[in-house]
Subunit: 235 residues, 2 copies
Amino acid sequence: MSIVDVSLGRNLASLELFDALSPAALDEVRALARFKHLTRNTRIFNQGDGSVRAHALIEGCVRISQSGSDGAQVVVRFITRGEMFGTVALFTDGRYPADAETLTECTEVSWSEADLAQLMDRHHRIALNFIRIIGKRLQDAQNRVRELATQRVERRIAHALLRLARRSGHRNSEGITIEFPLRRKDIADICGTTLHSASRILTPWEKAGWLVTRDQRLTLCRPDEIEQIAENGET
Amino acid sequence: MSIVDVSLGRNLASLELFDALSPAALDEVRALARFKHLTRNTRIFNQGDGSVRAHALIEGCVRISQSGSDGAQVVVRFITRGEMFGTVALFTDGRYPADAETLTECTEVSWSEADLAQLMDRHHRIALNFIRIIGKRLQDAQNRVRELATQRVERRIAHALLRLARRSGHRNSEGITIEFPLRRKDIADICGTTLHSASRILTPWEKAGWLVTRDQRLTLCRPDEIEQIAENGET
DNA sequence: GGAACAATTTGCGCTGGCGCAAACGCTCCA
DNA sequence: TGGAGCGTTTGCGCCAGCGCAAATTGTTCC
């Protein structure tokens, strides 16, 4: 890690949760923070674990996934730089409702329940930021429910890819590349389908040149075509 | 409306959002509140409307439903006595993300965006309550995503009925009656299926005596049998 | 470089559940 | 009393997408 990373990495002002906080308040936040560096494919916490902390990601990508008693799995969300995660449990039953696993090398920061409560108490803005963030996620989740309930697989996959590209895509000469590794299984678990169906749908799109998979990274070369499918459900 | 209703109806302490507030704080809350009495099947707000307010229900039942650009509909949630609704929009884009319609005669109370902000600012507890509530709803929504993604219709319907019964059921001699009117279409829209499939599944259950529909109200006579289906996916 | 492993593709058969359309039953109102 | 309207049930045909299994390709680690 370079010097730049250290200073940039510890710049908590870039975290959505601490947006618009005064420098003095950020100092308090920093004083209570616990930083951690993690390698790829590391579990940060497991579904059902107690003694929860509030997490945020400074660098890297994390996959949040949930599995039912029958073993079936869904990807709840991908977390990227600046986003918080595992925080809702602090205010509900004190157990993580899902697993968190790093997809890349990561720098994570976390606060204990008591410390976050204290910070929120002293800095009202944090609570408001929190509300805004999970309010947005609640809307996302409800849109997802609607999609799952009403659209067929092809269209759901198209939507999912576009959403990922919009949120975590980097434009380059080939198209828009989604910044974290995405296996077919991940795409299936996002869209509520099977690995097989996801493959069956994506392969023709690759053949048509609408997207490329390279080094587990997905690049949308023809977002317009994919948009078509997302909108009309047809080519 | 009787005198009892009026005094009880205005007891804002029974609203989840104002739980554990001091009497003085509740007075402030009451001073800014706008009460409204509504007849059955009334629209409270429409998806997309601006100039949002924060709502809570003192008496009655409200259906929150969302429809996509293609007309497909899902029921997001049923609101009953004490619950807040339409509040998340205040913190996101300022537009209601769904429709709200009364299913019974209702007493509703609401606050303007500015007034709620002021109340939250003066009484930190309100913000914390808010976080707890939408945190819980976020978890609910994510569980629903998982169900939709992994379980088949029969099981989803079983789960939905049990959840409704648990949250809004009254025990009586026949079994547990869900307190608000539920048409087949509603059940379908909760579970992400069609009216037809819902009917095809529920009719055998009625024939088996596991439940009864009377006056648009559903009574679970054999929750144990329905639990079986919810758990195992089989009888 | 090659063996062991992980991820992906693909063929095939089957079925859950959708879509359509028609019939049935209840309630309200003229 | 009858008919208009809403909600529900049910028959029938069809197909999207799952499950299984095998082949293929890509990746990692000696």
